[in-house]
Amino acid sequence: MRNPSSLKQEFLKKWIKGLQICSATKKKMSIMERRKAIKVSADIAMASTRKSTTYWSHALMANASKDDTNKIIIENILGNDDDNSKRIIFKKASMGISMSQKRIVRSKKIVRNSCKISRRARKISPSTIAKKLVKKRTQVLKSLVPGGEYMDDASLIKETLDYIISLRVQVDVMRHLANNASHEINDPKTSS
């Protein structure tokens, strides 16, 4: 596991970079725009700390890059890294996800048809109920983790572990910033 404080620093640097880009491109933002910029920069910064090692980071970046304004942020934050990773992310945004969606629709139809056939033969037992619960909860988890719908169960759990750690880092840094910023405003003396 990576050192959490180094993760926090990396996230913070990238997030601030993203925020600077946003404020440079638009001098006066409405509060809604500012809020969106903050959240998007934070998400992109969080995803880029993992880069190409996890699936969810790719899916998150791919979703963000659908919006043209975010592309500039992504380009700049990934700017230090090689161009290949950038190209992969933008490609995945357009191609990979749409292909997996067709696959999912087809497989769902197959499962539905096979369920109709075997329903009469199946007996209700506590293990079946437990299995159903696990299936149901897994579906919910898939909707929460970015890119989760296209993963098998074991990868989903691995990705969830990583995603939770990164989310925690994001929340910690943002909370720190919010607390310090409110202190700064209420008490303008800087403590050295």
């Binding site: 640097k13 404020s23 809604m32 989310l167 909370r175 910033l177």
Partner: protein
Amino acid sequence: MSSRRSRSSRQSGGSRITDEQIADLVSKLQLLIPESHTRRSNKVSASKVLQETCNYIRSLHREVEDLSDRLSVLLESTESDSDQAAIIRSLLM
């Protein structure tokens, strides 16, 4: 244990992952989720862990949104974001 393993081999979907691997991952997940009260570690069901995980992720998402709201109000009051960001960064490091 053996009955569970035979059940997994009957599963459709083609995932060749053993139940042991999944149990290992589920236990790791359990460690991450904040649950303070004592739990008999052997008897935690996978569905409970999954449910707690989903709730935890949702609460983290909600917190990110709340913090974004707070920050959008706070950062609005300064002239330039980058200056204040630099100050705050020096405070945090």
